[in-house]
Assembly symmetry: C2
Homo-oligomer: 364 residues x 2
């Protein structure tokens, strides 16, 4: 158990944005929301999963929608309270603690804001260890935990509760409503008990985000910042380049796109491309895939090592493309079926990042 | 209080399909569902609105979606019970009776089926006195009654509860979910108390449907069937013709279209067109509008006087186009704003049917 205040939020936002693998929204937007709540209501208590009773009701809070919309749409005042009321009325049980459902610039922050405003603790756990675009894409789905009852509310005051036969149906129906509400909404889904959270959650993700954020903040003081960055992230360098084109489309409630890179430094003369659906899905170098989901493909600024989310991609920006190993549970067959490359329409088997790198990126 | 059994259902379905004004679904489909339920569970008690206590919870049951889809999609077994459970759990109060929300071949029948299966009475009232395509289009909206909490469920077992800030938002969000569920779903909306039902409902609509149906069943025994039909429906003859073309499009969860008619009999040499969005919106004769919503524009077979719904329009079919006056409340300013021609994008003021007929249809 420890406290999360303003400095911790700063680092968590940065680290979670890196783990967002291009998605999860703008950490600047997320940070403002969380800091505002902590300034108004005081620091938030962060619980280790082991500190949560097995029968306690633990509830993730998140925004759903396209990250580009998240950045533009206001977050109203009453959403967290409405979600709290809807879920606790449904169960006839008080919510014990909130938790994030994914890492990412916005979705790491909103549960902190909700916890601060409603005076509840936050648990140091999530359901991805990164960000993914669709809501059935959580370790809890592998564990057979239902996404529903799911509560959804918009900034205008409309509210919806879903109960579905599968988590894929939750995604389908909630996505429709999200689009009708203007492209982004606040949600609470995968309500679970403490035992389920401990069994299937990605533990320590808030702390890991904070450590990554703190390391990024100080990376420039290192003798060799890039080497230091790869060391503390345990990252694989996939490419270094200048953004030469960004193709982008907001469709069916998602940001789809492809960013093209011209090599710089050691990669001069080579080219790379990264495909995304909110989050980065694949990285190719000279036409050959060097990393795919569920491993993390992260773009960071070559100078500051700040994460560059898909909504912030801009012509001319110089970035380092880094691969990070995903949470181990994603690499089991059920994980690959849920979030492997083929689910996203990429016609290749999943090969772990560290294998792909050996094969094609030895010289990068 | 009286009982509704198989013969009553037969007539109600026909009469309600006429009042459906082209929409409300195929009476054959609706009838099968209601008759099956009454065969399994016995006749249904029909209550006069005055027999319902002011504080009783009265709940409409309906299908939502495009009529063409209604006709093809199965109605599963558990929907009524699920809707009942969702609504009564929400209110912590048992449902006293069901009611139809609109007249129409399907939506007049499903509340009968639900009442039979759950052993509840049905109230002789609805919220339109006809059918309309969007769910905020009920007299209850004029009365300030909320469409929510609205319960929605599909035949697969997915369920959703909406609470919205306006009835137009209910339409918006529920329509999205309906489309995601395959184009038609079962719903319960406008839960209200007995007092509200009595104040704003269209009273006696089930009985009126039954009387119309019975009269259509026996119309051919009359000396001059057409004259007799116009007399008992209090209808205005707008046109008589052969369908020469049907333009049809299923879009945004609705059946949109236009049917063209070549005059026959007294109308030989003239032409007519009827525009629809699930229900018929306008009728034109020789390019001049002769009737618009909210008045009812009904097509019936020239031989049998059976109603022809928009999903059953076919090249070559001979039809009589008849106008019926709408329920009086629709003609007030709030009614015209909600369901007048301009709401549907038709650039004309609402002029009561009987005025328009005088002006342009004297000779038809």
């Amino acid at each position: 158990m420890r406290k999360i205040g303003i400095p911790e939020i700063e680092d968590i936002a940065t680290g979670a944005a890196l783990l967002g693998a291009g998605g999860g929204g703008d950490p600047y937007v997320g940070k403002l929301v969380a800091m505002g709540a902590v300034r108004d209501c005081g620091p938030v208590t962060l619980l280790d999963p082991e500190e949560v009773p097995d029968d306690a009701l633990v509830v993730p809070i998140a925004m759903m929608g396209a990250p580009t919309v998240l950045a533009e749409k206001a977050i109203g005042g009453g959403e967290y309270q409405r979600l709290y009321d809807m879920v606790s009325r449904f169960f006839g049980q008080k919510i014990y603690a909130f938790m994030p459902i994914e890492a990412g610039g916005v979705n790491s922050m909103l549960p902190i804001a909700a916890a601060a405003r409603l005076g509840l603790p936050l648990v140091d756990v999530d359901g991805m260890g990164r960000a993914f675009p669709e809501l059935q894409m959580v370790t809890f789905t592998i564990g057979g935990i239902s996404a529903t009852p799911m509560a959804l509310t918009d900034e205008k005051g409309n509210s919806v509760i879903f109960e579905t036969i599968t988590n894929k149906w939750t995604e389908e129906l909630a996505r429709s409503v999200t689009m009708s509400c203007g492209g982004s909404v606040s949600v609470s889904l995968y309500p679970m008990n403490g035992a389920q959270m401990k069994q299937y959650g990605v533990r320590g993700i808030v702390t890991r985000s904070q450590q990554l954020g703190a390391a990024i903040r100080t990376v420039k003081t290192a003798e060799n910042p890039e080497e230091h960055f790869l060391e503390f992230t345990e990252g694989y360098k996939l490419f270094q380049g200048k953004i030469s084109d960004v193709l982008r489309e907001t469709r069916a409630g998602f940001n789809f796109g492809r960013v093209l890179l011209e090599g710089i430094g050691a990669c001069k003369g080579r080219s790379a491309a990264v495909e995304f659906q909110n989050e980065n899905l694949t990285a190719e170098v000279d036409g050959k895939i060097v990393a795919t989901v569920p491993d993390l493909i992260c773009l960071v600024d070559t100078e500051t090592f700040s994460p560059v989310t898909t909504d912030a991609l801009k012509y001319g920006k110089r970035v380092l493309v880094v691969g990070l190993k995903c949470f181990e549970m994603w690499r089991c067959p059920a994980g690959i079926e849920l979030v492997g490359p083929r689910y996203f329409g990429v016609d290749t088997d999943y090969i772990p990042l560290e294998e792909r790198c050996k094969e094609v990126c030895g010289n990068v």
